[in-house]
Protein backbone atom coordinates (compact mmCIF):
# COMPACT_ATOMS: atom_id res chain seq x y z
CA UNK A 1 0.00 0.00 0.00
CA UNK A 2 1.40 3.43 -0.86
CA UNK A 3 2.58 5.41 2.18
CA UNK A 4 0.00 8.19 1.79
CA UNK A 5 -2.83 5.70 1.58
CA UNK A 6 -1.55 3.83 4.64
CA UNK A 7 -1.48 7.11 6.52
CA UNK A 8 -5.11 7.74 5.55
CA UNK A 9 -6.09 4.36 6.97
CA UNK A 10 -4.06 5.03 10.12
CA UNK A 11 -5.74 8.40 10.58
CA UNK A 12 -9.22 6.91 10.06
CA UNK A 13 -8.38 4.02 12.41
CA UNK A 14 -7.17 6.47 15.05
CA UNK A 15 -10.54 8.24 14.94
CA UNK A 16 -12.37 4.94 15.41
CA UNK A 17 -10.00 3.89 18.22
CA UNK A 18 -10.49 7.17 20.01
CA UNK A 19 -14.25 6.84 19.81
CA UNK A 20 -14.39 3.17 20.80
CA UNK A 21 -11.45 2.21 23.03
CA UNK A 22 -12.87 3.62 26.26
CA UNK A 23 -16.25 1.98 25.67
CA UNK A 24 -14.64 -1.38 24.97
CA UNK A 25 -12.36 -1.27 28.01
CA UNK A 26 -15.27 -0.17 30.20
CA UNK A 27 -17.54 -2.99 29.02
CA UNK A 28 -14.86 -5.60 29.56
CA UNK A 29 -14.08 -4.31 33.06
CA UNK A 30 -17.76 -4.42 33.92
CA UNK A 31 -18.00 -8.01 32.68
CA UNK A 32 -14.82 -9.34 34.30
CA UNK A 33 -13.90 -6.89 37.07
CA UNK A 34 -10.35 -7.07 35.77
CA UNK A 35 -8.80 -3.80 34.61
CA UNK A 36 -5.60 -5.30 33.24
CA UNK A 37 -7.34 -8.04 31.31
CA UNK A 38 -9.75 -5.52 29.78
CA UNK A 39 -7.14 -2.93 28.94
CA UNK A 40 -4.69 -5.39 27.40
CA UNK A 41 -7.33 -7.24 25.40
CA UNK A 42 -8.48 -3.99 23.81
CA UNK A 43 -4.88 -2.93 23.13
CA UNK A 44 -4.27 -6.26 21.35
CA UNK A 45 -7.47 -5.78 19.38
CA UNK A 46 -6.34 -2.31 18.25
CA UNK A 47 -3.01 -3.72 17.09
CA UNK A 48 -4.81 -6.51 15.23
CA UNK A 49 -7.11 -3.92 13.66
CA UNK A 50 -4.19 -1.83 12.42
CA UNK A 51 -2.67 -4.89 10.80
CA UNK A 52 -5.88 -6.11 9.14
CA UNK A 53 -7.31 -2.77 8.17
CA UNK A 54 -4.11 -1.71 6.41
CA UNK A 55 -4.52 -4.62 4.00
CA UNK A 56 -8.30 -5.12 3.91
CA UNK A 57 -9.49 -1.57 4.48
CA UNK A 58 -11.64 -0.40 7.37
CA UNK A 59 -14.69 -2.65 7.88
CA UNK A 60 -18.17 -1.22 7.53
CA UNK A 61 -18.90 -1.59 11.21
CA UNK A 62 -15.52 -0.98 12.84
CA UNK A 63 -16.96 -0.75 16.36
CA UNK A 64 -18.55 -4.19 16.07
CA UNK A 65 -15.33 -5.58 14.59
CA UNK A 66 -13.32 -4.23 17.53
CA UNK A 67 -15.77 -5.55 20.11
CA UNK A 68 -15.82 -9.03 18.61
CA UNK A 69 -12.04 -9.19 18.52
CA UNK A 70 -11.52 -7.63 21.98
CA UNK A 71 -14.02 -10.03 23.51
CA UNK A 72 -12.47 -13.03 21.80
CA UNK A 73 -8.98 -12.04 22.98
CA UNK A 74 -10.28 -11.61 26.53
CA UNK A 75 -11.99 -15.01 26.38
CA UNK A 76 -8.79 -16.65 25.17
CA UNK A 77 -6.75 -15.03 27.89
CA UNK A 78 -9.24 -16.19 30.52
CA UNK A 79 -9.48 -19.71 29.12
CA UNK A 80 -5.73 -20.11 29.69
CA UNK A 81 -6.29 -19.68 33.41
CA UNK A 82 -8.72 -22.13 35.01
CA UNK A 83 -9.12 -20.09 38.18
CA UNK A 84 -10.96 -17.44 36.17
CA UNK A 85 -13.97 -19.57 35.29
CA UNK A 86 -16.44 -17.17 36.93
CA UNK A 87 -15.17 -14.27 34.87
CA UNK A 88 -15.20 -16.44 31.78
CA UNK A 89 -18.87 -17.19 32.32
CA UNK A 90 -19.68 -13.53 32.77
CA UNK A 91 -17.95 -12.67 29.53
CA UNK A 92 -19.40 -15.62 27.64
CA UNK A 93 -22.93 -14.41 28.19
CA UNK A 94 -22.09 -11.00 26.71
CA UNK A 95 -23.37 -10.94 23.17
CA UNK A 96 -21.03 -12.06 20.45
CA UNK A 97 -22.05 -9.54 17.82
CA UNK A 98 -22.94 -5.90 17.61
CA UNK A 99 -21.73 -2.89 19.41
CA UNK A 100 -23.85 -3.77 22.41
CA UNK A 101 -24.88 -1.52 25.20
CA UNK A 102 -22.73 1.49 26.01
CA UNK A 103 -22.91 2.60 29.60
CA UNK A 104 -23.00 6.38 29.28
CA UNK A 105 -20.42 6.99 31.97
CA UNK A 106 -18.02 4.14 31.14
CA UNK A 107 -15.41 6.48 29.71
CA UNK A 108 -15.78 8.96 32.54
CA UNK A 109 -15.27 6.20 35.12
CA UNK A 110 -12.29 5.05 33.11
CA UNK A 111 -10.73 8.52 33.10
CA UNK A 112 -11.11 8.75 36.86
CA UNK A 113 -9.58 5.29 37.28
CA UNK A 114 -6.61 6.07 35.02
CA UNK A 115 -6.10 9.48 36.65
CA UNK A 116 -6.29 8.14 40.19
CA UNK A 117 -3.97 10.18 42.44
CA UNK A 118 -2.40 6.98 43.77
CA UNK A 119 -0.77 6.46 40.35
CA UNK A 120 2.38 8.27 39.22
CA UNK A 121 1.74 11.19 36.87
CA UNK A 122 3.51 9.56 33.88
CA UNK A 123 1.52 6.39 34.40
CA UNK A 124 -1.73 8.36 34.58
CA UNK A 125 -1.00 9.95 31.21
CA UNK A 126 0.12 6.74 29.49
CA UNK A 127 -2.79 4.76 30.85
CA UNK A 128 -5.36 7.40 29.91
CA UNK A 129 -3.99 7.59 26.38
CA UNK A 130 -4.09 3.84 25.95
CA UNK A 131 -7.31 2.87 27.71
CA UNK A 132 -9.46 5.92 26.98
CA UNK A 133 -8.08 7.34 23.71
CA UNK A 134 -7.04 4.06 22.10
CA UNK A 135 -3.39 4.97 21.55
CA UNK A 136 -1.04 2.10 20.92
CA UNK A 137 2.05 1.80 23.12
CA UNK A 138 4.31 2.80 20.23
CA UNK A 139 2.22 5.93 19.55
CA UNK A 140 2.61 6.96 23.19
CA UNK A 141 6.34 6.30 23.01
CA UNK A 142 6.65 8.48 19.91
CA UNK A 143 4.59 11.26 21.47
CA UNK A 144 6.81 11.37 24.56
CA UNK A 145 10.11 10.56 22.86
CA UNK A 146 10.43 7.52 25.10
CA UNK A 147 11.24 3.93 24.24
CA UNK A 148 8.36 1.56 23.74
CA UNK A 149 9.61 -0.72 26.51
CA UNK A 150 9.78 2.18 28.97
CA UNK A 151 6.17 3.10 28.23
CA UNK A 152 5.05 -0.53 28.40
CA UNK A 153 6.78 -0.94 31.74
CA UNK A 154 5.11 2.19 33.10
CA UNK A 155 1.71 0.79 32.09
CA UNK A 156 2.36 -2.66 33.52
CA UNK A 157 3.40 -1.15 36.84
CA UNK A 158 0.24 0.98 36.95
CA UNK A 159 -1.96 -2.00 36.07
CA UNK A 160 -0.38 -4.01 38.87
CA UNK A 161 -0.99 -1.24 41.35
CA UNK A 162 -4.63 -0.86 40.27
CA UNK A 163 -5.15 -4.54 40.95
CA UNK A 164 -3.04 -5.02 44.08
CA UNK A 165 -4.11 -1.83 45.83
CA UNK A 166 -7.74 -2.23 44.69
CA UNK A 167 -8.27 1.04 42.86
CA UNK A 168 -11.92 0.62 41.92
CA UNK A 169 -13.51 1.24 38.55
CA UNK A 170 -16.14 3.68 39.76
CA UNK A 171 -17.16 7.30 39.86
CA UNK A 172 -15.64 9.29 42.71
CA UNK A 173 -18.01 9.92 45.60
CA UNK A 174 -19.46 13.38 46.16
CA UNK A 175 -16.79 14.25 48.72
CA UNK A 176 -13.91 12.92 46.57
CA UNK A 177 -15.17 14.64 43.45
CA UNK A 178 -13.37 18.01 43.67
CA UNK A 179 -9.94 16.46 44.33
CA UNK A 180 -10.35 13.80 41.69
CA UNK A 181 -11.53 16.27 39.07
CA UNK A 182 -8.54 18.51 39.79
CA UNK A 183 -6.26 15.52 39.28
CA UNK A 184 -7.91 14.57 35.97
CA UNK A 185 -7.69 18.16 34.71
CA UNK A 186 -3.99 18.30 35.59
CA UNK A 187 -3.39 15.10 33.59
CA UNK A 188 -5.31 16.36 30.56
CA UNK A 189 -3.57 19.75 30.69
CA UNK A 190 -0.14 18.10 30.69
CA UNK A 191 -1.17 15.82 27.84
CA UNK A 192 -2.34 18.82 25.88
CA UNK A 193 0.81 20.86 26.44
CA UNK A 194 3.02 17.96 25.46
CA UNK A 195 1.19 17.75 22.14
CA UNK A 196 0.81 21.45 21.57
CA UNK A 197 4.45 22.44 21.27
CA UNK A 198 5.47 19.51 19.15
CA UNK A 199 2.59 19.77 16.69
CA UNK A 200 4.22 20.59 13.39
CA UNK A 201 1.99 20.44 10.34
CA UNK A 202 4.28 18.38 8.12
CA UNK A 203 5.47 15.97 10.79
CA UNK A 204 5.19 12.31 9.75
CA UNK A 205 1.88 10.76 10.73
CA UNK A 206 1.49 10.87 14.43
CA UNK A 207 -1.55 11.03 16.61
CA UNK A 208 -2.04 14.52 17.84
CA UNK A 209 -1.89 14.55 21.63
CA UNK A 210 -3.23 18.09 21.83
CA UNK A 211 -6.32 17.29 19.79
CA UNK A 212 -6.97 14.09 21.73
CA UNK A 213 -6.63 15.92 25.04
CA UNK A 214 -9.10 18.58 23.84
CA UNK A 215 -11.46 15.86 22.67
CA UNK A 216 -11.31 14.17 26.09
CA UNK A 217 -11.79 17.52 27.75
CA UNK A 218 -14.95 18.23 25.78
CA UNK A 219 -16.30 14.78 26.71
CA UNK A 220 -15.59 15.58 30.35
CA UNK A 221 -17.47 18.87 30.02
CA UNK A 222 -20.48 17.12 28.50
CA UNK A 223 -20.67 14.79 31.47
CA UNK A 224 -19.90 17.42 34.09
CA UNK A 225 -21.46 20.59 32.66
CA UNK A 226 -21.48 22.45 35.98
CA UNK A 227 -17.75 22.42 36.66
CA UNK A 228 -16.39 25.89 35.79
CA UNK A 229 -12.73 24.85 35.94
CA UNK A 230 -13.35 22.05 33.43
CA UNK A 231 -15.01 24.58 31.11
CA UNK A 232 -12.08 26.94 31.67
CA UNK A 233 -9.55 24.30 30.70
CA UNK A 234 -11.55 23.33 27.60
CA UNK A 235 -11.65 27.02 26.61
CA UNK A 236 -7.89 27.28 27.16
CA UNK A 237 -7.28 24.28 24.91
CA UNK A 238 -9.58 25.64 22.21
CA UNK A 239 -7.81 29.00 22.30
CA UNK A 240 -4.44 27.32 21.84
CA UNK A 241 -5.71 25.12 19.00
CA UNK A 242 -7.41 28.10 17.32
CA UNK A 243 -4.03 29.74 16.93
CA UNK A 244 -2.12 26.59 16.02
CA UNK A 245 -2.07 27.39 12.29
CA UNK A 246 -0.51 30.77 12.93
CA UNK A 247 2.21 29.39 15.16
CA UNK A 248 4.24 27.92 12.33
CA UNK A 249 5.23 29.47 9.01
CA UNK A 250 5.48 27.68 5.67
CA UNK A 251 8.92 26.33 6.65
CA UNK A 252 7.45 24.93 9.90
CA UNK A 253 9.38 27.50 11.89
CA UNK A 254 7.82 28.81 15.08
CA UNK A 255 6.44 32.35 14.78
CA UNK A 256 6.27 34.50 17.92
CA UNK A 257 2.90 35.97 18.89
CA UNK A 258 3.87 39.50 17.81
CA UNK A 259 4.49 38.35 14.23
CA UNK A 260 1.67 35.86 13.76
CA UNK A 261 -0.78 36.35 10.91
CA UNK A 262 -4.00 36.69 12.90
CA UNK A 263 -6.18 36.05 9.86
CA UNK A 264 -4.96 32.43 10.00
CA UNK A 265 -6.43 31.96 13.47
CA UNK A 266 -9.67 30.01 13.74
CA UNK A 267 -12.05 32.77 14.81
CA UNK A 268 -15.08 30.49 15.10
CA UNK A 269 -13.18 28.38 17.62
CA UNK A 270 -12.14 31.51 19.50
CA UNK A 271 -15.80 32.51 19.75
CA UNK A 272 -16.66 29.04 21.13
CA UNK A 273 -13.95 29.40 23.75
CA UNK A 274 -15.13 32.84 24.80
CA UNK A 275 -18.68 31.49 25.18
CA UNK A 276 -17.30 28.72 27.44
CA UNK A 277 -15.42 31.26 29.56
CA UNK A 278 -18.58 33.31 29.98
CA UNK A 279 -20.60 30.24 30.94
CA UNK A 280 -17.94 29.29 33.52
CA UNK A 281 -17.85 32.84 34.91
CA UNK A 282 -21.63 32.79 35.43
CA UNK A 283 -21.10 29.99 37.99
CA UNK A 284 -19.10 32.33 40.24
CA UNK A 285 -16.44 29.80 41.24
CA UNK A 286 -13.23 31.30 39.93
CA UNK A 287 -10.14 29.12 39.47
CA UNK A 288 -6.74 29.07 37.76
CA UNK A 289 -7.85 27.50 34.46
CA UNK A 290 -10.58 30.10 34.05
CA UNK A 291 -8.08 32.91 34.57
CA UNK A 292 -5.54 31.37 32.20
CA UNK A 293 -8.20 31.01 29.56
CA UNK A 294 -9.28 34.62 30.10
CA UNK A 295 -5.67 35.70 29.50
CA UNK A 296 -5.49 33.60 26.34
CA UNK A 297 -8.80 35.13 25.22
CA UNK A 298 -7.35 38.65 25.63
CA UNK A 299 -4.67 37.70 23.09
CA UNK A 300 -7.03 35.82 20.80
CA UNK A 301 -9.60 38.61 20.60
CA UNK A 302 -7.08 41.37 20.05
CA UNK A 303 -7.07 42.74 16.48
CA UNK A 304 -3.30 43.12 16.43
CA UNK A 305 -0.33 42.64 18.73
CA UNK A 306 -0.12 46.42 19.23
CA UNK A 307 -3.80 46.57 20.26
CA UNK A 308 -3.32 43.96 23.02
CA UNK A 309 -4.86 45.04 26.33
CA UNK A 310 -1.75 44.42 28.45
CA UNK A 311 -3.15 46.20 31.50
CA UNK A 312 -6.05 43.74 31.56
CA UNK A 313 -3.65 40.82 31.09
CA UNK A 314 -1.45 42.06 33.93
CA UNK A 315 -4.50 42.36 36.19
CA UNK A 316 -5.45 38.76 35.37
CA UNK A 317 -1.89 37.60 36.13
CA UNK A 318 -2.08 39.40 39.48
CA UNK A 319 -5.24 37.44 40.24
CA UNK A 320 -3.61 34.19 39.10
CA UNK A 321 -0.54 34.89 41.26
CA UNK A 322 -2.66 35.11 44.39
CA UNK A 323 -4.84 32.12 43.48
CA UNK A 324 -2.17 29.73 42.22
CA UNK A 325 1.29 31.24 42.72
CA UNK A 326 4.17 29.52 40.93
CA UNK A 327 7.48 30.57 39.36
CA UNK A 328 6.06 29.91 35.88
CA UNK A 329 3.10 32.21 36.55
CA UNK A 330 5.51 34.87 37.83
CA UNK A 331 7.62 34.51 34.67
CA UNK A 332 4.60 34.90 32.39
CA UNK A 333 3.43 37.82 34.47
CA UNK A 334 6.79 39.49 33.87
CA UNK A 335 6.10 39.45 30.12
CA UNK A 336 2.99 41.54 30.78
CA UNK A 337 4.98 43.76 33.16
CA UNK A 338 7.41 44.46 30.31
CA UNK A 339 4.55 45.78 28.18
CA UNK A 340 2.88 47.82 30.91
CA UNK A 341 5.75 49.05 33.10
CA UNK A 342 8.77 48.52 30.86
CA UNK A 343 11.74 46.13 30.62
CA UNK A 344 13.54 47.36 33.72
CA UNK A 345 10.65 46.49 36.05
CA UNK A 346 10.19 43.17 34.24
CA UNK A 347 13.89 42.29 34.52
CA UNK A 348 13.82 42.91 38.27
CA UNK A 349 10.98 40.40 38.64
CA UNK A 350 12.52 37.84 36.32
CA UNK A 351 15.86 37.98 38.14
CA UNK A 352 14.16 36.93 41.37
CA UNK A 353 13.13 33.67 39.69
CA UNK A 354 16.66 32.58 38.85
CA UNK A 355 16.86 30.02 41.65
CA UNK A 356 13.59 28.32 40.73
CA UNK A 357 13.81 28.44 36.94
CA UNK A 358 17.49 28.32 35.96
CA UNK A 359 16.87 25.00 34.18
CA UNK A 360 13.91 26.29 32.17
CA UNK A 361 14.71 27.49 28.64
CA UNK A 362 11.99 30.16 28.50
CA UNK A 363 13.39 31.80 31.65
CA UNK A 364 16.64 32.46 29.78
CA UNK A 365 14.86 33.36 26.53
CA UNK A 366 12.74 35.99 28.29
CA UNK A 367 15.64 37.34 30.33
CA UNK A 368 17.68 37.54 27.12
CA UNK A 369 14.89 39.50 25.47
CA UNK A 370 14.74 41.94 28.39
CA UNK A 371 18.50 42.48 28.36
CA UNK A 372 18.30 43.14 24.65
CA UNK A 373 15.53 45.71 25.32
CA UNK A 374 17.94 47.43 27.71
CA UNK A 375 20.84 47.37 25.25
CA UNK A 376 22.84 44.73 27.15
CA UNK A 377 23.77 42.77 24.05
CA UNK A 378 26.43 40.48 25.54
CA UNK A 379 24.26 39.43 28.46
CA UNK A 380 21.36 38.93 26.07
CA UNK A 381 23.32 36.64 23.75
CA UNK A 382 24.60 34.58 26.66
CA UNK A 383 21.06 34.10 27.95
CA UNK A 384 19.68 33.16 24.51
CA UNK A 385 22.38 30.58 23.98
CA UNK A 386 21.71 29.17 27.43
CA UNK A 387 18.03 28.88 26.43
CA UNK A 388 19.03 27.11 23.23
CA UNK A 389 20.95 24.49 25.18
CA UNK A 390 17.94 23.74 27.37
CA UNK A 391 15.24 22.90 24.81
CA UNK A 392 14.99 19.76 22.72
CA UNK A 393 12.14 21.05 20.59
CA UNK A 394 13.50 21.71 17.12
CA UNK A 395 11.01 24.49 16.27
CA UNK A 396 11.97 26.35 19.42
CA UNK A 397 15.64 25.78 18.73
CA UNK A 398 15.29 27.34 15.29
CA UNK A 399 13.53 30.37 16.74
CA UNK A 400 16.17 30.86 19.41
CA UNK A 401 19.00 30.35 16.94
CA UNK A 402 17.49 32.99 14.67
CA UNK A 403 17.36 35.43 17.58
CA UNK A 404 20.90 34.60 18.52
CA UNK A 405 22.27 35.32 15.07
CA UNK A 406 20.15 38.35 14.32
Amino acid sequence: MPERCADDVRAAAATVFREEAGHLVGRLIRATGDFTLAEESVQDALLAALEHWLTDGIPRQPAAWLWTVSRRIALNRLARDASYSAKLDALAVLEEQGEGRHEPDDRLRLIFTCCHPALAREAQIALTLRAVCGFTTSEIARAFVATESAVAQRIVRAQRKIKAAAIRYKMPSEEERADRLREALAVLYLMFNEGHLSSVASAPFRRDLAKDAAWLMSLLCTWMPDEPEALGLLALMKLSLSRADGRFDERDDLVVLAHQDRSRWDHAMIAEAVALIERAASMHRIGPYQIESAIAACHAESKSFEATDWAQILALYDLLSTLAPSPIVALNRAVAVRQVLGPEAALAEVTQLEGALSGYHLFHAIRGQLWSDLGQIDLSRAAQSRALGLTENSAEQTLLRRRLFQ
Binding site: S83, H116, A118, A165, A166, I167, R168, S173, E175, E176
Partner: protein, 118 residues
Protein backbone atom coordinates in the same frame (compact mmCIF):
# COMPACT_ATOMS: atom_id res chain seq x y z
CA UNK B 1 -9.85 -5.78 50.90
CA UNK B 2 -7.32 -5.42 53.69
CA UNK B 3 -4.66 -2.79 54.09
CA UNK B 4 -2.13 -1.81 56.71
CA UNK B 5 -1.98 1.87 57.52
CA UNK B 6 1.56 2.57 58.68
CA UNK B 7 1.82 5.67 60.82
CA UNK B 8 5.20 7.12 59.95
CA UNK B 9 7.04 10.30 60.71
CA UNK B 10 10.37 12.02 60.51
CA UNK B 11 12.62 12.82 63.46
CA UNK B 12 11.24 16.38 63.20
CA UNK B 13 7.69 15.06 63.51
CA UNK B 14 8.82 13.11 66.57
CA UNK B 15 10.46 16.22 68.08
CA UNK B 16 7.28 18.24 67.50
CA UNK B 17 5.29 15.50 69.21
CA UNK B 18 7.67 15.37 72.17
CA UNK B 19 7.42 19.14 72.56
CA UNK B 20 3.64 19.12 72.95
CA UNK B 21 2.22 20.44 76.23
CA UNK B 22 0.15 18.07 78.39
CA UNK B 23 -2.98 19.92 77.26
CA UNK B 24 -2.13 19.61 73.59
CA UNK B 25 -1.25 15.98 74.12
CA UNK B 26 -4.58 15.29 75.80
CA UNK B 27 -6.41 16.94 72.89
CA UNK B 28 -4.44 14.95 70.33
CA UNK B 29 -5.17 11.66 72.11
CA UNK B 30 -8.85 12.59 72.23
CA UNK B 31 -8.83 13.18 68.46
CA UNK B 32 -7.09 9.88 67.84
CA UNK B 33 -9.60 8.16 70.11
CA UNK B 34 -12.46 9.70 68.14
CA UNK B 35 -10.90 8.57 64.87
CA UNK B 36 -10.75 4.99 66.11
CA UNK B 37 -14.34 5.19 67.37
CA UNK B 38 -15.58 6.51 64.03
CA UNK B 39 -13.70 3.86 62.07
CA UNK B 40 -14.32 1.06 64.54
CA UNK B 41 -16.16 -1.15 62.03
CA UNK B 42 -13.26 -1.07 59.59
CA UNK B 43 -10.35 -1.54 61.99
CA UNK B 44 -9.24 -5.15 62.33
CA UNK B 45 -6.41 -4.46 64.75
CA UNK B 46 -4.04 -1.69 65.66
CA UNK B 47 -1.01 -1.07 67.81
CA UNK B 48 1.36 1.67 68.76
CA UNK B 49 5.02 0.77 68.64
CA UNK B 50 7.59 1.56 71.29
CA UNK B 51 10.22 4.11 70.32
CA UNK B 52 12.84 3.10 67.70
CA UNK B 53 15.63 2.88 70.28
CA UNK B 54 13.87 -0.17 71.73
CA UNK B 55 14.13 -2.01 68.41
CA UNK B 56 16.31 -5.04 67.74
CA UNK B 57 16.94 -6.32 64.22
CA UNK B 58 17.86 -9.78 63.05
CA UNK B 59 19.42 -9.79 59.58
CA UNK B 60 20.37 -12.73 57.44
CA UNK B 61 23.70 -12.23 55.74
CA UNK B 62 24.91 -13.88 52.54
CA UNK B 63 25.74 -17.07 54.43
CA UNK B 64 22.18 -17.24 55.77
CA UNK B 65 23.31 -16.90 59.38
CA UNK B 66 21.19 -14.59 61.53
CA UNK B 67 22.93 -11.53 62.91
CA UNK B 68 21.34 -9.71 65.85
CA UNK B 69 21.77 -5.95 65.96
CA UNK B 70 20.57 -3.17 68.19
CA UNK B 71 18.32 -0.64 66.39
CA UNK B 72 15.59 -0.54 63.75
CA UNK B 73 15.89 -1.81 60.15
CA UNK B 74 15.12 1.61 58.71
CA UNK B 75 17.89 3.90 59.79
CA UNK B 76 17.98 7.61 59.37
CA UNK B 77 15.19 10.14 59.33
CA UNK B 78 12.02 8.08 59.03
CA UNK B 79 10.39 6.02 61.72
CA UNK B 80 7.23 3.99 62.17
CA UNK B 81 5.13 4.87 65.21
CA UNK B 82 2.33 2.38 64.84
CA UNK B 83 0.06 0.53 62.48
CA UNK B 84 -3.56 -0.26 61.93
CA UNK B 85 -5.00 -3.11 59.89
CA UNK B 86 -8.23 -2.14 58.13
CA UNK B 87 -10.82 -4.04 56.09
CA UNK B 88 -12.50 -1.75 53.55
CA UNK B 89 -14.01 -1.81 50.05
CA UNK B 90 -10.99 -0.44 48.20
CA UNK B 91 -8.16 2.06 48.10
CA UNK B 92 -10.47 5.08 48.11
CA UNK B 93 -11.95 4.11 51.46
CA UNK B 94 -8.49 3.48 52.93
CA UNK B 95 -7.39 6.87 51.57
CA UNK B 96 -10.34 8.53 53.24
CA UNK B 97 -9.31 7.04 56.58
CA UNK B 98 -5.68 8.09 56.09
CA UNK B 99 -6.67 11.64 55.13
CA UNK B 100 -8.58 12.08 58.39
CA UNK B 101 -5.83 10.59 60.63
CA UNK B 102 -5.29 13.14 63.42
CA UNK B 103 -1.77 11.95 64.32
CA UNK B 104 -0.08 13.95 61.48
CA UNK B 105 3.23 12.78 59.99
CA UNK B 106 2.79 10.47 57.00
CA UNK B 107 0.41 7.54 56.61
CA UNK B 108 1.59 4.82 54.25
CA UNK B 109 -1.15 2.57 52.88
CA UNK B 110 -0.10 -0.96 51.96
CA UNK B 111 -2.51 -3.54 50.58
CA UNK B 112 -2.15 -6.97 52.16
CA UNK B 113 -1.64 -10.00 49.94
CA UNK B 114 -5.05 -11.69 49.89
CA UNK B 115 -5.28 -15.29 51.14
CA UNK B 116 -5.03 -17.86 48.31
CA UNK B 117 -8.35 -18.19 46.44
CA UNK B 118 -10.62 -21.26 46.21
Amino acid sequence: MKYILLFCGTREDQAAFDAMSPDELRRRYAEVGRWFAENNAKVVSSNRLQAPHTATSVSFGPSGAPVVKDGPFMEGKELIGGYCEVDVTGLDEALKMAKTWPGRGTVEIRPLVPPPGP
